[in-house]
Amino acid sequence: MQIQTGVEAGVEGALLKADVRELDFYYGAFHALKRVSMPIYDHRVTALIGPSGCGKSTLLRCFNRMHDLYPGNRYAGGGIVLYPDDTNLLAPGVDPIEVRMRISMVFQKPNPFPKSIYENVAYSLRVRGMRNKSELDDRVESALKGAALWSEVSNRLKELGANLSGGQQQRLCIARALASDPEIILFDEPTSALDPIATASIEELITELKEKVTILIVTHNMQQAARISDFTGYMYLGEMVEFGVTDQIFIKPQKKATEDYITGRFG
């Protein structure tokens, strides 16, 4: 993959937050990511698109070392360098828990814990050992406000998170991810289980969130990538086919394969 000239145009003022460098990844014997490289810019939304099985979720889950949870998964070369540390977060000595403290995640299907709304949001703080009640209260409130959920739940914080609607549950999961002030939030097809109205509210939220945090989102919905992202990477069969400024990718892709996918001739 070569960096498109368009990227530089879109980078103005954007700092590099992370850099995927020739990353190889295996599920057992299956070569799922093949020398993937891509930059992630600070306070920007980067989208990963591509047909099912192309490796976009696999790449996303490398960022918070989710693959470490299952035996047989192997980071086989290259890495993801996180800035400003300039450290490869896939290096063997790096503690995955420390990585996840800084890089949070929102999943495809809303997965609130079987706890109250308050405790769901406080979870990532309690995990970090925060016990001070008033500090917890403040952080929970600001996370819920950040996820545009506070006005809907402020008087029912003790209720189970599962009692909320699907879209509210997903915003609860975003609040949960926000509460600990992460540097990057990973979104793995966050709206694929939601109706169009809930989807619109999540998209709007993501656009607002980039003021505070760097966002990497996997989506199967190309319109969504076009609407909310600043940069887009198109992946196919474990390779990064093309990466660039979103407008460039959608209006004037450099590669024929990207154009075929985006125009719906393929995938």
């Binding site: 949870l69 420390e98 996840r100 997965n111 814990f113 706890k115 990532s124 995990v127 599962a162 949960r176």
Partner: protein, 317 residues
Amino acid sequence: MIASASIPSQPMPIGSGISDRLSKKASRHVKERIIEGLLFSAAAFSVFVTIAIVYVLVKESWVFFQTVPLSDFLFDTQWTPLFDDAHYGIMVLLSGTLTSSGVALLVAIPLGTIIAIYLSEFAGFKVREIAKPFLELLGGVPTIVYGYFALTFLTPILQKIYPDLPGFNLLSAGLVMGIMIIPYVASLSEDAMRAVPMSLREGSYAMGATRLQTALWVVTPAATSGIASAYILGISRAVGETMILAVAAGMQPNLTFDPTEPGATITSYIVQVALGDLPHGSIGYQTIFAAGLTLLLMTLFFNLLGYWLRKRFREVY
């Protein structure tokens, strides 16, 4: 209407494949009925047996309560049905049952839960494949073996620690009973924890939680209803356990909550009487039905409690 509209206007020729398939197969209908009947009678049989047991217990107990007033049964502090000066205070046997069960649960619930958490959340695939059959084997050891294990192995060890401990005691029997119950608690709790969807664990790990935090703060609460059922089953097993107590606890009716004393439980008393030569219809013989009914009511209570807990804590995930 739609169906009739789709019938072709031209009739099918008689004897063609289609009309053959529409022939009435009455025999199939009869076969279905027979199978349904067999299935129903199998289900009805278990219901009938339960009703019959309750009927026998209530009928014989009714006769018993004609002679012994209910207030004596509930509040007398002595249980001496075979003496000339007979007393029928069920409290005495109940204290033995509760004390030995209490000891057993103090062993089984913490250990069973810890084992379940380990097997479900920490153990690798291989460890689990080896450990689980062994654990379940522990539940398959005949209780008489456990009884002699308590009497001839554990009690002498305990006597080295407490020299005053009598040879028959509720403590040793209760501890061994706890070991016997561990597999029930551990196995069912583990099943409940493993049923918690992976997405919840991933959510927890993604927030930076450790394995232990995930196990204790997310998986265990999510599996509460299943774990509660496991505990209730453990309690029912402890309350109903007979042989270990008959062998190792002494069968002496003793109103005490001190596990270092000997004692009789409801079940071990029933064994004692059922083995003796008591004439049918005598008041001594009928005590075992009253005791049995008490036991049934206790386990019924725990089952209802378990049912309620399952409903109350059933998690939506």
